[in-house]
Symmetry: C2
Subunit: 143 residues, 2 copies
């Protein structure tokens, strides 16, 4: 449903949302270690997100990545959109081009609610709100 890359990206962004701030930037390497990921690869993902201004960055010693308060208000779906491009989430599970309620594929009605709910969740909740639940121990990022 999501590519590995965008799973990583979501994890990294939530990690930043929980741990970083403009005065407490975090190096790619530290995030990579935390979420157990090859660090040059994560760096690439962060660069992509940085180009789209969803994460902020600063070079040099004491440099690193962080999320501005504004960025934290954006929906988590933005991250997925940037990494996976378009709507991988909207595609028919059986690959039918024009699957719809009018011409449903054989599993349409059992899958459609799943996809819709998931997409809505990512669309309507901000990065910050997901991060809150991690902070409160309601949800987890690793293990």
């Amino acid at each position: 449903m999501l590519s590995s890359s965008s799973k990583y990206a979501v994890n990294a962004v939530l990690y930043l949302a929980v741990h970083s701030s403009q005065i407490n930037k975090i190096r790619a390497k530290e995030i990579a270690e935390a979420i157990k990921l090859p660090s040059p690869f994560l760096a690439k993902l962060l660069q992509t997100l940085s180009r789209e201004n969803i994460v902020s960055s600063s070079k040099g010693p004491t440099g690193g990545f962080y999320l501005t308060p504004e960025a934290q208000q954006r929906p988590l779906l933005e991250v997925v959109k940037i990494i996976d491009g378009t709507d991988r989430l909207d595609e028919c599970v059986l690959g039918l081009k024009k699957c719809s309620s009018e011409k449903p594929c054989p599993v349409h009605f059992s899958v459609q609610p799943l996809k819709k709910t998931f997409r809505k969740e990512l669309e309507e909740n901000s990065i910050a709100s997901f991060a809150e639940k991690v902070k409160s121990g309601e949800t987890y990022l690793f293990v």
Copy 2:
């Protein structure tokens, strides 16, 4: 959620369930044309399914693929299992190794029930029952 290969396979199997019988075998090429797929690739998938006895085949002129009535009674999930191997369906959407109700990932509770429903649907309904709905025009295989 499913690989392209297993999407093709599901489509092909349902096509066979709808159109074939032991006395009306269907050539790989015909199925490939129907579901718009490179025919040598589909042939490979059908061979794999045939090795696992979910589709039956016969060589030579008038040869082709078909489903026995017994095969039609097997759950559609079998097809997915054979092609995608293990449980791609059970993995955490965010890629967490040990995502569970005790240590839920940030989207666990919104996605988990729906994944379960989907899996159950594939597990509890036979190929034949999916095929029935296609025959009755309730669901569709192409377009």
